[in-house]
Symmetry: C2
Subunit: 155 residues, 2 copies
DNA sequence: GCCATATCAGTGCATATACACTCATCCCAT
DNA sequence: ATGGGATGAGTGTATATGCACTGATATGGC
């Protein structure tokens, strides 16, 4: 008779830990987040907040859903992630004139100044990563991460 | 005289979004998390919880700090991430006999059964990723992510 | 043996993440 | 013009993440 799998041996689990895409992605993300967080601390922006502001500035003004889609972030997560930035007066959101259901997100002048302040620190973190990981490996990693994004982003 | 950078143009921000390591890592992690979460839903384990149980089983029994180090997860984050698993009776923690400051983490028999239940679903998710991303690219990505881990893990 | 220090784990607080549900606005068919 | 479905955004709840701080136990110098 066939056996139903009711256990899982440790050696098998070690192999899974080596090969699991989500585990390794999240683990690397935690490490990278800490590195950027430490480096950019003087600018008073956490990595997610910096990323958000960069994305906003790239499309300024941009609607909530559009921004969420580009970042592959849930729309409701975006709503909450904008809160600390709004509280600090770095971004504003307001209903669009043409469609009052939508909200347009913008960087304030203070937000632009803060982002400009953070840019050199970001470059510093990025340079450190490139040095320690190697330019070639970093470029390859970024390309593969973008492949993940285009492959799994709901079109 | 030299100008202080007080603004940041949108085009520059688009380039930063393309090259930023932390942004692209977190974005890919969000997408991958959703894929595994959906696939493994029938087993009642979120991706982080599955990863945690795999890591525990690989070293069973394992001390809190040791587990946190392997996962590159803050020790206090680990404490809280174990809660839902303890509540479901899938893992237990208790002080080690030799040093009562430390706590040893173990999978319960129920935890082992649940992990065995989740394994085929994990394989299904992993296979889907390999198919859509390509075996070669996935292997390369995993190798680079592990390079990130070894490079930026403390000591 | 005893205290100073080091080490291990938990709490309080804040941010990050997303699903289910709700509310507001728009648009179209009648 | 209006009512009903479609679409955009927010809330409630739960998990994930980590820093600063606290409490508990071990250990070494005396």
């Amino acid at each position: 008779m066939t056996e139903i799998e009711t256990s899982c041996d440790p050696q098998q689990c070690r192999e899974i830990g080596e090969r699991c895409a989500v585990l390794n992605l999240r683990k690397a993300a935690r490490l990278m987040t800490r590195l950027y967080e430490e480096t950019m601390k003087p600018a008073g922006l956490l990595p997610t907040q910096f990323s958000l502001m960069v994305a906003i500035r790239a499309m300024d003004p941009v609607r909530m859903s559009q921004l969420a889609a580009v970042l592959a972030m849930d729309r409701t997560t975006l709503t909450r992630n904008l809160r600390p930035l709004e509280r600090q007066g770095l971004v504003t959101t307001g209903p669009a004139a043409e469609d009052r259901r939508t909200r347009e997100v913008r960087l304030t002048p203070e937000g632009q100044a803060r982002l400009a302040l953070a840019l050199p620190l970001w470059r510093q973190a990025q340079t450190r990563v490139a040095e320690r990981l190697g330019e070639a490996r970093l470029s390859r990693l970024l390309a593969d991460l973008q492949a993940v994004a285009t492959t799994f982003l709901p079109e």
